[in-house]
């Protein structure tokens, strides 16, 4: 299948404004006219909606349209940037003039002939907003409310949100890159509050991907989120205070892969490594993990939340090996940092919107499966923590310290999972943590499609995944010292 996403993007973004390829050339020529090495134009139209249920009713919903064009001029390590929220030629040329003001010397960029690679697409160029009627969206949310309440009388609040975006982008670079993409994305989330006596806890579950709304109805996915949110909340009603201190931690499969995102992924983004500000800088070829660990960033997984046909600079996405059997193999690159580090871009140049500059970002980051049965891994632990679900995480790139916060965790005592414990933040050191991985499960799972990554104020959808992992020593930030 080779749907012409470039043609679709052209039709959505350029045709209504009466812009042709000669106008793109003219704008890029305007950028290059000023001793600049190169530049690009990024056209975008984003349609989004969200529907929210509480008290058993859908009482609030919104619709948003965002469009514009960003113009970037690059000269050596310098970047000039301007944008317009009107896609018309005068605004485009004005933005081009503002962006090129960066260059004072050097650079002799030449306009290259357009070239656009066509390849099989990872998701249909559909408009997810239109894939279900308004009535059906409302009904779906009401069904999830009923399903959650049906699980247990202790459920007192159910909040459900359903959201979709369709992002149509077209990027034209002076290096000849010309690419279009139509990116659907849907997301469904269920949050419940349960009450028992004076104790209150919440549970959360959800998922999504680059699919139509109907995906939530397949295999009872949506109903599954409602049941899962209630299950997690009820587990937490019985949770005892979490332990404090350094101990063996077994991480469940799937979303706990946020470990890799925080501890490894960010530190391997090209900008930090080009500047020498990452705890991983200059460590290519060194051992940074146990030989059991192979970590990749793969933007080419069909329908996944973190996947892209092309990145926001028009580079096709790929599967990049970051760590191979414990050895650091590669960084994640956009065009700017790849050029300055004299390596090839890896299709990781991403931006939140036309109003933001591209940065090296992750797509779907995961650790490949090993040989152990998950039960075997738990049985091997005398005393430790088994953490199966997490909230967010964060990393200090330079020192390498990272955290991620468990929302569902249990004690392991004498090889058995025993009592649930309250949520706690886990802290470690990125370049060390994977050296302490002593067992890797055979149960690789990717997350359900819920992740959003923030960097320099820009949010982009990402995915993570891993099999069950045993980390010999990680610090658990509970209250029981």
């Amino acid at each position: 299948m080779a749907t012409d996403t470039l043609a679709l993007a052209r039709q959505q973004l350029l045709t209504p404004a009466g812009l042709g390829e000669d106008d793109l050339h003219r704008a890029l020529a305007c950028v290059l006219g000023h001793a600049v090495d190169g530049g690009d134009l990024y056209f975008q139209l984003r349609r989004a909606e969200s529907w929210a249920l509480e008290d058993g009713q859908v009482k609030n919903a919104s619709h948003a349209i965002q469009q514009g064009v960003g113009v970037r001029a690059v000269s050596g390590e310098k970047t000039g940037f301007a944008y317009s929220d009107e896609i018309v030629l005068p605004a485009l040329l004005e933005a081009a003039t503002a962006a090129r003001a960066i260059a004072c010397h050097g650079g002799d960029g030449q306009l290259q002939v357009w070239r656009s690679a066509q390849r099989p697409i990872l998701y249909e160029p559909l408009d997810p907003l239109e894939t279900l009627s308004a009535e059906a969206k409302v009904q779906l949310l009401e069904r999830l409310d009923a399903e959650a309440r049906r699980q247990d009388p202790r459920v007192t609040q159910v909040m459900v949100s359903l959201a979709a975006t369709q992002d149509t982008i077209l990027v034209a670079g002076s290096d000849g890159a010309l690419a279009g993409d139509v990116r659907p994305l849907v997301r469904l989330n269920v949050t419940v509050i349960v009450e028992q006596g004076s104790r209150r806890e919440q549970g959360n579950a959800g998922g999504g991907g680059r699919v139509a709304y109907g995906w939530f109805l397949d295999e009872d996915r949506a109903l599954g989120y409602a049941r899962e949110a209630v299950r997690e909340a009820l587990v937490n009603l019985d949770a005892v205070p979490a332990p404090a201190g350094t101990m063996t931690v077994v991480l469940g499969p799937g979303w706990p892969g946020i470990l890799l995102h925080e501890a490894i992924g960010h530190g391997l983004e090209g900008d930090f490594n080009r500047k020498g500000t990452s705890a991983f800088s200059g460590r290519l070829g060194e051992r940074v993990a146990s030989p059991l660990c192979t970590v990749v960033d793969d933007g080419t997984l069909a329908h996944r939340r973190g996947s892209l046909n092309v990145d926001d600079e028009g580079t096709p996405t790929q599967c990049t090996t970051l760590i191979e059997r414990g050895v650091l193999k590669g960084y994640l690159q956009d065009k700017l940092n790849a050029r300055l580090m004299k390596v090839a871009p890896t299709g990781n140049g991403r931006r939140e919107s036309y109003a933001h500059l591209p940065l090296p970002r992750m797509t779907n980051t995961y650790l490949l499966p090993g040989e152990h049965e998950p039960a075997e891994i738990i049985a091997s632990v005398e005393r430790g923590l088994y953490a199966v679900n997490f909230g967010g995480g964060q990393v200090d790139i330079t020192s390498g310290k990272f955290v991620f916060s468990a929302s569902e965790a249990y004690l392991i005592e004498n090889g058995r999972v025993t009592r649930p414990v309250k949520g706690a933040t886990l802290i470690g050191n990125g370049p060390d943590v994977l050296t302490k991985v002593s067992m890797v499960g055979n149960d690789l799972q990717l997350d359900a499609g819920v992740g959003t990554c923030g960097k320099e104020g820009q949010s982009v959808p990402v995915g993570v995944g891993q099999p069950t992992l045993k980390v010999e020593a990680l610090t658990v930030g509970g209250t029981q010292a």
């Binding site: 500047k275 706690a424 610090t475 930030g477």
Partner: protein
């Protein structure tokens, strides 16, 4: 090169132009059958530059428009937004909002703010001070700031840059009760982030200053040197053994603790029963010496506003006095859900001031005696429903009031409800950069997890 001489920010459109747009949107809503409607239109323009290792890294021109409308058919509502101000876009947005409102359930609490709560006069809060700064001048300031950091100590080996940003914006809100008001604001900032390195490794840190008026900013040299000192003092950080100790939160983190308090007394969290401070009105939440005031009309302050995002007049009040919770943070909807009145906090709080105590940082470290002084927090480990708190931390180990050594890769944990009650002192070292102004906070006991 003439086009490098760019003014800091593009000129703002006249407020009257935005008022006309709001009137057009409300008229369109009426024409499409809405029984009531509200609309907000905004325009923002900004210039930001970053200089790294003495060279310009980025020069960004920002210019953003916004238009948002909510329409009501009786008690059913729908919302839409766009950046497009053309008449056909306004029509389409109102249509989208109406299409949604046909499917949303009637909600007896939905609706515009009560007319008698809308702002009658719109005081000038002195929030608009455009900075007549060219791109070259902005670059020079950023360069000076970074150079001050790089020059402070040979162990400052690398940099993430010095930055200057200047933003100007205008917004107008109107609704079908006849309210229409707007105001202009500016926000300027200078920041620096550098990396210190020695045989123990690399440590990055930063500092920033922000103000409505460029003249109120700290100087580039002060900002650069503070960033450098903050990075240098982190070198040689060690871990701690797991233990329970008193914890002193630096002012820039103390603000965050007060932020968790505000989130827990927000109407949305209360009516959903998703807060650890349910049913606590008129009861002690803090020790008796804690007072928290809201002062929305402070001239030039970062969170000042003449009216909230529903047009409700903002007013001075005490959120906490004598340690007792005196009021919630409500908009019209959550107030109706709770059977109360709006507190003029649609969109957030407007300058919260935690009344400073008598002691500065040195005296607070002496009061801490032996424990942890936290200067950085990592992650989001706060459960708003239970108040359980567990976050990554770094800072300094203190013995007998003296800083002994920097620490990192530890967590601090407790429960916010208990932490608030066990605050032992509020410092006079107030961080006034944000919407919450607070000095250091000394908490009697928390669990530190480490080795």
């Amino acid at each position: 090169m003439s086009d490098t001489i760019t003014p800091t920010t593009a000129p703002l459109p006249a407020q009257e132009q935005l008022e006309t747009l709001v009137a057009d949107i409300l008229a369109e809503a009426r024409a499409q059958g809405a029984t009531s409607a509200e609309a907000a239109v905004s325009f923002g323009s900004a210039l930001s530059v970053t200089v790294r290792l003495g060279e310009v890294e980025t020069l960004e021109h920002h210019r953003q428009r916004g238009l948002a409308v909510t329409i009501y058919f009786g008690q059913s509502r729908g919302s839409a937004s766009t950046a497009d101000w053309r008449p056909e876009a306004i029509r389409a947005s109102v249509q989208s909002a109406c299409a949604i409102a046909r499917h949303t359930a009637a909600d007896p609490c939905a609706g515009l703010a009560d007319p008698d709560r809308l702002a009658r006069a719109i005081p000038d809060l002195d929030l608009y001070h455009p900075w007549p700064l060219t791109a070259e001048e902005a670059i020079e300031l950023a360069r000076e700031c970074e150079a001050a950091a790089l020059g402070l100590d040979p162990r400052i080996r690398n940099s993430e840059g010095g930055s200057v940003a200047s933003h100007a914006g205008v917004m107008v809100y109107g609704n079908s009760h006849g309210f229409c008001g707007g105001y202009s604001t500016t926000r300027h900032s200078l920041s620096c982030s550098v990396i210190a390195q020695d045989e123990s490794g690399m440590q990055s840190n930063h500092w920033y200053t922000v103000a409505r008026n460029g003249n109120d900013l700290e100087t580039p040299v002060v900002v650069g040197q503070k960033a450098a000192r903050r990075a240098l003092r982190r070198l040689g950080s060690r871990r701690l053994e797991t233990r329970q100790v008193p914890v002193l939160f630096a002012p820039e983190l103390a603000r965050g603790l007060i932020g968790h308090f505000v989130a827990a007394i927000r109407g949305g969290a209360l009516y959903r029963k998703a807060s650890f401070l349910l049913d606590r009105l008129d009861t002690p939440v803090f020790p008796a010496f804690v007072t928290i005031r809201e002062r929305p009309h402070w001239p030039r302050a970062m969170a000042s506003a003449p009216f909230d995002s529903e047009g409700v007049a903002t007013a001075d009040r005490d959120l906490v006095s004598g340690g007792v919770l005196r009021g919630y943070v409500l908009d019209s909807y959550s107030a109706r859900r709770l059977g109360m009145e709006t507190t003029g906090n649609a969109g957030g709080t407007h300058n919260l001031i935690v009344e400073p105590g008598p002691l500065g940082r040195e005296a607070l470290l002496r009061q801490l005696d032996t424990g942890l002084w936290v200067t950085e927090l990592l992650g989001h480990g706060v459960n708003p429903v239970t108040g359980d708190y567990s976050r990554g931390a770094s800072g300094f180990w203190v013995e007998q009031g003296e800083v002994r050594f920097p620490v990192h890769e530890i967590t601090i944990a407790g429960n916010l409800d208990a932490m608030f009650k066990s605050i032992v002192a509020v410092g006079n070292d107030v961080d006034a950069r944000g919407g919450i102004r607070c000095g250091s906070l000394l908490v009697e006991r928390m669990t530190v997890a480490g080795e």
